[in-house]
Subunit: 248 residues, 2 copies
């Protein structure tokens, strides 16, 4: 199993002003590539905090992705923080400098904009097809923009650089019975099967109480086996359920 | 400044299946109470990972909140994990037991449901007005449900237990100029003022490029001062901006 973690650099998320959308996107994208997102940290725009997160996570997971803090303003401190994490100097990346000079024109390539051409020494760029200013990779750490459209474009270019694992398939089943009535059976199915994980998520919608069960596995046959057991159990107990969602 | 961190326990968020909404809610709620949410971690439903997150964060922040994993099913392991973090036995909480017996009736208070009456020894309950099964507090750690409606109800009951700080006010200004043109001025204003923080968030919407500046401070007068400087700068540079949002 290939594993990854994500560091979201963003005071705006921690203040509640902005709803983070990158986690769900990155998680689903990695899952599709057979890479398990195993931990996410949201940290403040403070160098020591970014350094601590990156250095704790990079030996523990195959990959660390970061989002945010690579723009031209005073609060964009991700590049210098990652350089500090690797104990490397922050230097002008010649290719980033060339791209940005071409984009802005030499005269308008201001000091603020030049900040976006700095990377830890030896970094490999991550292309930004949306707004040019690149992200970068240093060892197993991938530094991306925080703006979702740019982040998504960057992530797409990374696919060939990543080793991928087996995609984890999943199937959801919505059962109109409270979670506490399903708990015994779920534990029994989970206990009797290897290579499958059953997640159970209660819901309260429009006065209806129910449980969404999500069955996950790299093996579709195991998913089908587990969901058959669930559907049979509902029939015996006379619990209503919605039609099975597709395995995806 | 009172500080807090949040541990989100949830495989469903890490798989990309569920979009976390609790972070934004909790962040805004804490901010309103003058408590700074300083770090968030999303961890897998694995005891060792929950223990590590809770034990790393609880000495570093005034408060640690957790969401998720306190239901009746096999994947609900937060109570035993937090007990392990504090090296305390997991025991039946008499008041939780009484509430749940009353709610379900003694006969239907199954083994699975009885899991929801267990807390680390000595924990104080957190009321759940939505679905009875309580959360709990042990020292500075507050264990809440993951279902947003329940979590929100639990959080509301906690207000009298928390020491609160000065609310941080903020004001947003949308400027129709790229962030890189604002960067120099932002750095200058930020450098010249204490007790104010300026956040800068580029946007790309419907073909428009612009920057949202968020000015934050516990002192409304400082916010007004900083935004006046920004508005004056836009006038000189002939950058369009939207009407000022309210300070809130």
């Amino acid at each position: 199993m290939v594993s990854a973690s994500l560091v979201i650099i963003g005071d705006e998320i921690l203040s509640g002003r902005t709803q983070d959308k990158n986690t769900a996107y990155i998680a689903a994208w990695l899952n599709e590539a057979g890479i398990q997102l195993a931990e996410v940290r949201v940290v403040q725009d403070i160098e020591a905090n970014i350094v601590a997160a990156v250095n704790t996570l990079r030996p523990r997971f195959d990959y660390v992705f970061t989002t945010g803090g690579i723009g031209p303003t005073h609060d964009d401190i991700t590049a210098e923080s990652v350089a500090a994490a690797f104990n490397l100097p922050l230097t002008t990346h010649p290719e980033a400098h060339r791209l940005l000079t071409e984009y802005y024109g030499a005269e308008d390539f201001t000091e603020a904009r030049q900040r976006m051409s700095k990377t830890p020494e030896g970094a490999q760029l991550i292309d930004n097809s949306v707004s040019i200013a690149p992200g970068f990779q240093i060892e197993n750490v991938f530094v991306m923009a925080g703006v979702p459209k740019i982040m998504e474009a960057m992530l797409e270019t990374l696919r060939p650089r990543l080793k991928t694992g087996k995609k984890i398939w999943s199937q959801a089943l919505t059962i109109h019975a409270p979670e506490s009535k399903m708990a015994g059976k779920l534990g029994e199915i989970q206990g009797g099967m290897e290579g499958v994980s059953l997640g159970s998520y209660p819901f309260f919608r429009d006065g209806n109480i129910g449980t969404q069960i999500v069955v996950r596995s790299a093996d579709k046959a195991l998913i089908a086996d587990a969901t058959t057991q669930l559907v049979d159990y509902c029939a015996v107990q006379q619990y209503r359920h919605d039609g099975l969602a597709e395995i995806n």
